[in-house]
C-alpha cells in the first residue's frame, strides 16, 4: 500500500460563534476568533490517498485527476469565500451552527472528497489535513 498526498491552497474568512451561547461566553471561549467582522487565513489542504500502484501506469491515482477533484469539490466552494456566510455546511441557524474550526473544515473537506473517490480506481481517501497557519493544523481520517 502506498500513500500519496496532494497539496492545494485556498484563502477564506471566518469567525467562531456558537449561537446557543451569550456574547460573553463566545468571547471567553473563542477570544479574538469570535469577532463578528471575521478574519481570514491562507489555508493549505493536504489530501492523502492510499492504494496499490497500478501495474501499468505505476500510479496509485492520477495526480491531475486528484487536483481536479480537489478543485471541483472543495476549492470552487471555499476559495475566497466567507465560510460562515457562503458555505452551506457552516450556515448557522438561530440556535445552532457547525463552527468553521480547522477540525470541522477537515471533516467537511473529507465529506466533499470521499464520494468522488469512487473514481479513484480502487484507491481510498485516507487522510485530510488542513493547515490554518503553518503552526496550526487539523486532520480527519474518517474515524467515527
Amino acid at each position: 500500500m502506498i500513500s500519496l498526498t496532494r497539496r492545494a491552497t485556498f484563502s477564506a474568512s471566518h469567525y467562531y460563534w456558537n449561537p446557543a451561547w451569550t456574547a460573553e461566553k463566545n468571547e471567553q471561549v473563542f477570544g479574538r476568533c469570535s469577532r463578528r467582522t471575521g478574519h481570514g487565513h491562507n489555508y493549505t489542504l493536504e489530501v492523502t490517498v492510499a492504494g496499490e500502484p497500478d501495474p501499468v501506469t505505476g500510479f496509485v491515482v492520477d495526480l491531475k485527476w486528484l487536483r481536479d477533484v480537489i478543485e471541483r469539490e472543495v476549492l470552487a466552494a471555499w476559495d475566497h469565500r466567507h465560510l460562515n456566510l457562503e458555505v452551506p455546511e457552516f450556515a448557522a441557524t438561530e440556535t445552532a451552527a457547525v463552527i468553521p474550526t480547522t477540525e470541522n473544515l477537515a471533516i467537511a473537506a473529507w465529506k466533499r472528497l470521499e464520494p468522488a473517490m469512487q473514481g479513484a480506481g480502487g484507491a481510498r481517501l485516507s487522510r485530510v489535513r488542513i493547515y490554518e497557519t503553518p503552526e496550526i493544523f487539523a486532520e480527519f481520517r474518517g474515524e467515527l
Binding site: E135, I136, R141
Partner: protein
C-alpha cells in the same frame, strides 16, 4: 467524530551529545561534531498532535489556548533558551532528539485537559525529525 489537532512550537536550546559510559575516543567516533566540548544549539520545532472527539458546541478537539498553556508550562518554559544537558531529566540521559522527543511526550502525557496525546514530533533541523507515539 474523531479528529486530530496539531500545533507547532519552537524551542531554541543547546546540547552536547556525550555518553558517560563511553571513552573520549568512542564519544568522538559516535557523535562527531555533536560531541564538541562546549555544545551547540538548534531551533527545535515541537509538533504536538492531539486526537479526540470534536466537541459539538465548540467545533474543537482541544482549545488552542488551553493546549498552548499546557505546552508553555510543561515544555517551552522549561527548555526554551536552556542547555538541555543541565536539565535534571537529562542527568543520566544523552539529550539526543530521540530522547528529547520521548521526554516531551512524557511531560505532556496526562497533562491535557481534554483529548489524547497521539504523537510528539521534534524537528532538530529542517532535514531531520523524530517522533514518539508513546509506545
Amino acid at each position: 467524530m474523531k479528529a486530530y489537532f496539531g500545533r507547532r512550537y519552537t524551542i531554541s536550546a543547546s546540547h552536547r551529545l556525550h555518553a558517560e559510559a563511553l571513552s573520549a575516543e568512542a564519544n568522538r567516533a559516535v557523535y562527531g561534531k555533536c560531541n564538541n566540548p562546549h555544545g551547540h544549539g538548534h531551533n527545535y520545532v515541537v509538533e504536538v498532535l492531539v486526537g479526540g472527539a470534536v466537541d459539538p458546541e465548540t467545533g474543537m478537539v482541544i482549545n488552542l489556548t488551553a493546549l498552548d498553556e499546557v505546552v508553555r508550562a510543561r515544555v517551552t518554559d522549561r527548555f526554551d533558551h536552556s542547555n538541555l544537558n543541565l536539565d535534571p531529566l537529562f542527568v543520566n540521559r544523552v539529550p539526543t532528539t530521540e530522547n528529547l522527543c520521548r521526554v516531551i511526550f512524557g511531560l505532556l502525557k496526562g497533562a491535557l485537559p481534554v483529548g489524547c496525546l497521539e504523537r510528539v514530533r521534534v524537528e532538530e533541523t529542517e532535514n531531520n525529525f523524530f517522533e514518539c507515539e508513546g509506545e
